[in-house]
Subunit: 234 residues, 2 copies
């Protein structure tokens, strides 16, 4: 496995993918062409718009990004891919389209075989066992909540600590994950913006400057520091 | 129809249901016993704990609250009910259990016949056409996202305005609803905490001190003031 799973595509006051520059150039060092999966359509933008945005960011690596929607046979496109990048947006839409186009299983197989994979936000969420710790609205009804499962736990991207000064009564992120664990047993990694997981061979290492918050059923949440190996979580 | 659909159960620095006291006492003035639906399990609490909490708040009205889980036949319980209150929590769990227990359709029929109904948060969300503008995590996979449809639009409870000072890159509520409208066409009412809808006969009136934010596909969002009739929205 050779995957880069980032909480977010963009940090405050930075360009799209800017903070991941070194990691992207390393991950895709042997790739001339990478397949982009724009299914999550952030803010409802089209596949074409989204692919153009991502392509521009990949120009500096000398890599041509091709949208999966440009291929007649999306399954064959993944089968033949040198690398894949799945962008963020709405996770329900992403998962729904991955199933509808028959791409979920072939993508899992290719990542397991070692094809370089990068995800941001929703594209990272789908690396987990299920998409059930997404923050997104259920704008479509996917045929399943099961996702790639290339890591043995779930991810909550854009993890946000409770705001002690808030007067808002909607559930905090931590409460939502606690509700998840009332019904489900897999651990959840709350990945803050600026953190990513580097999944190489049998290791899943937390990277970036921040700690991540680990939630386990019936246990107190726990902070883990950068460079922690999470491969034995679960 | 005779329904009270509140964005939240509790306001900052107040007791549970405190701000709705007058409305609750008016809605259930002819009811001695009200059925409580605790399926949404906020924070993962049990049906028993949740029903006890709600029952205590109903003591002052001289109303006995009975949890739907206390009945062998939940469908008959709704059929015979003088009134129903559905509490907040996780909307996916609520909708999943409403279908699993066969309660969704009988509840819709009874509300249409004029049985007093009150919802808070998730219990309000299910009054809309679908649950697809919930803020909750998909902790279970419900058999459908379709909900009661006693009002002709969708609701986003706990509506939260974007924070202009935020450095967080997760989607704002407004962006999420915009993503909803990339795929779906029904209007969405963003109901702020402290607002509720009073659905009586053929009118659906916005109540409380705050404006509500109305989202329509391909249109700019619009603020509407208290006492606006939303029955013709959609």
């Amino acid at each position: 496995m050779n995957a880069l799973l980032a909480s977010t595509s963009t940090l405050h006051n930075q360009q799209y993918l800017e903070y991941l520059e070194k990691e992207i150039s390393n991950l895709f060092k042997d790739s001339k062409e990478v397949i982009f999966i724009p299914y999550a359509r952030p803010g409802g933008i089209t596949y074409e718009e989204y692919t153009e945005k991502a392509s521009e960011a990949f120009l500096k690596y000398g890599i041509e990004l091709k949208g999966i929607h440009e291929f007649k046979d999306p399954i064959a496109a993944i089968e033949n891919a040198e690398g894949v990048f799945t962008g963020g947006g709405n996770t329900f839409l992403l998962v729904s389209e991955l199933y509808r186009n028959g791409v979920m299983n072939v993508l899992r197989d290719k990542i397991r075989e070692g094809m370089p994979y990068m995800g941001t936000s929703a594209g990272t969420n789908i690396a987990g066992l299920t998409m059930q710790t997404t923050n997104d609205m259920p704008i479509v009804y996917p045929s399943s909540f099961k996702t790639l499962g290339i890591i043995p736990f779930n991810i909550n991207p854009h993890y946000l600590d409770p705001d002690p000064g808030s007067t808002h009564k909607g559930e905090t992120r931590e409460t939502r994950i606690h509700e998840f664990h009332a019904i489900n047993s897999q651990p959840v990694v709350g990945l803050r913006e600026g953190s990513w997981l580097e999944a190489r061979k049998d290791q899943i290492i937390l990277k970036g400057d921040l700690e991540a918050r680990i939630f386990r059923k019936d246990k107190q949440p726990e902070e883990v520091s950068t460079d922690t190996d999470l491969s034995h979580l679960n």
